[in-house]
Amino acid sequence: MPALSSTMTEGKIIEWLKEPGAKVGRGESVLVVESDKADMDVESFQEGYLAAILMPAGSTAPVGETIGLIVESEDEIAAVQAKVPSQPSAQVSSLPNDSASNVEVAKNEEPSLSKSLSSLPVLSDAPKTPVSEPRLVVNEGRIVATPRAKKLASQMGVDLKTVLGSGPHGRIQAEDVLRAKGEPISVPWVAESNAPATANFISGPSKKMSSESKAKSIDLKGKSFGQPGQTIPFNTLQQAVNRNMEASLSFPCFRVGYKINTDNLDIFYKEVKPNGVTMTALLAKAVGVTLARHPQVNAVFTSEGISYPPDVNVAVAVAMEDGGLITPVLKNADKSNLFELSNKWADLVKRSRSKQLQPDEYSTGTFTLSNLGMFGVDRFDAILPPGTGAILAVAASQNNVVAGKDGSISVKRQMQVNMTADHRVIYGADGAAFLKDLANLIEENPSSLGV
């Protein structure tokens, strides 16, 4: 199955233009593949004979799957046909790899047409789901499946006998059913970073564990893109992240942290939340306003010198469910009001999920915000993305026992923020002054963000 786009993971065979046994000329169309609303005539780039069709018209195959076999000479047709079922059914998905060595695999993707690695990674419709498992798995005997998987299977009309289980001892999980059905797998994972903390997460051992919350904690298993024993190729976005991460090793970074009291911020957030204001917007605005007063922290290293961007654009990291992450940008975060930022953010997140962001919507950040507060982490530090001077890692806000200046003891909500900065541009004193100002704004005057 040739890749018709960089994000395509599977394609539908619309029509075979050749019958098995037919002669195929070089450059002659052999079949038609559809991805979304576009059809592509797939051509053979080898002269020969179509010996076998392994995936019939109407079936869907993952990119790279062998869908048919082309042989060089007429004599080889029979040998190849003997090895594969003559009447392919929709379930046939893979071919024994030991087929005759002189058999040309009809992948048909002309090398000259394949995308070069340096070309632009395209954000387009999300691939449905990376299907790499053979479709036909027969479970014999007793079927072990989670209750949710059983329920889903009956709702979706999936026969559990045909589902490969990925749980302990091959138990079938809900995701396995979704995968078998070809539905996008949605694992509850990093959602929009909308709060520096959620109380449930950080309130220590729960006094009572309802059956519902038990079920929830089971659902919250770690993210994985592959099954144990597999090696999964990086997707385009993951490759882009890898390149950035490796590039970051060449900048001299330092880190500086601050504990910020959030009692007043929490009160203000409660006031404005009913108006649709999100915590991401509040944090971005606070950071934006402070950056406007600290242009050095908004600056970036270039070979010509320190470059001061004309605007304050706060990028916020969002993890993608199918791997990699993206940093949609809240432009002019210092000048926009909270409602604009909240709406803009909701729109950016929605469109980044469907991979419909334009490059200037994720590439123009001058400062990055990364929030893992919703997991309850007490601190973390972030890696500086190339092209910016600093990134702020925001942890959960939690109750701490705090000694005041006068020696009094109180309980305050605090969140730890850590900034990673490029020391060629931003020095320790610049970073510390920025954090002090940011803390002051959040602690003393959060309502000014609403002005």
């Binding site: 786009s5 619309i14 979304d36 576009a38 059809d39 990674p121 950035n244 092209g387």
Partner: protein, 230 residues
């Protein structure tokens, strides 16, 4: 460890441009004729007999077309006895219909000049439409997971593309001031919930001749085309 993926992305050089023939027939063009024009042009490009790309802007008399993989279940009439001509054609997607007042745009482009990526191309065509609508003061939208352009929940433009060795044919159709009752005899794009709209629902009095220059301008920008007029 958040990263800014965007820093890796270079915007395409705008210095390069491609000449493209522009055909704007003034009369209604029967579907079959326009289809032949595109097929021949595609063939010429494939055989390297011509090197320029081509774009048609035209209107069809009423007709229905089905993509190669389309199901006839979405026809609400007898396919042997259609209300107007019915064609099964070499593009992706389900059934749609054409009629006067709908601007049809057929770019025969070589995606190797741009990106050999059909998904990119579909999204690019959507962006062309969205930009055209913006020039008219309308804010067109994509619906996640679907192809086409919507205005306030109504689908105003459909997209369907066929491709051979990265050379495209077919394209998009934008409902400007056409009748919409033809859409009632099909399930457009196979989507039962879809409501079809036209630009005159928002901009009364708008006609195809107002939209043509905008489409040309935006298409030329997106695909760096320099028009060679017929």
């Amino acid at each position: 460890m958040p990263v800014d993926k965007g820093n890796l992305i270079k915007t395409r050089s705008s210095a390069k441009s491609f000449s493209a023939f522009l055909f704007e027939p003034k009369d209604l063009v029967p579907f079959k004729r326009a289809w032949d024009w595109q097929k021949n042009w595609q063939k010429g490009l494939l055989a390297q007999e011509i090197s320029e790309q081509a774009v048609w802007l035209l209107e069809h008399p009423s007709c229905y077309t089905l993509g190669r993989g389309a199901t006839q279940d979405n026809l609400l009439f007898d396919s042997k006895n259609p209300p107007s001509d019915l064609f099964r054609i070499d593009r992706g997607g389900e059934v749609t219909c054409h009629m006067p007042g709908q601007l049809v745009v057929y770019p025969v482009l070589d995606l190797r000049f741009y990106q050999t990526d059909l998904n990119w191309y579909l999204r690019e065509l959507e962006q062309v439409l969205i930009d055209v609508l913006r020039l008219l003061g309308l804010s067109g939208e994509r619906l996640s997971g679907l192809t086409g352009v919507w205005l306030a929940g109504k689908k105003v433009a459909s997209i369907g593309v066929g491709c051979r060795r990265w050379i495209t044919q077919h394209g998009f159709a934008l409902n400007v001031d056409c009748e919409l009752f033809s859409f009632e005899s099909i399930i457009p794009c196979g989507l039962k919930e879809v409501k079809v709209g036209r630009l005159t629902d928002w901009l009364p009095g708008l006609s195809i001749k107002d939209v043509r220059p905008l489409v040309l301008k935006v298409l030329a920008q997106h695909f760096q085309l320099v028009w060679i007029n017929e």
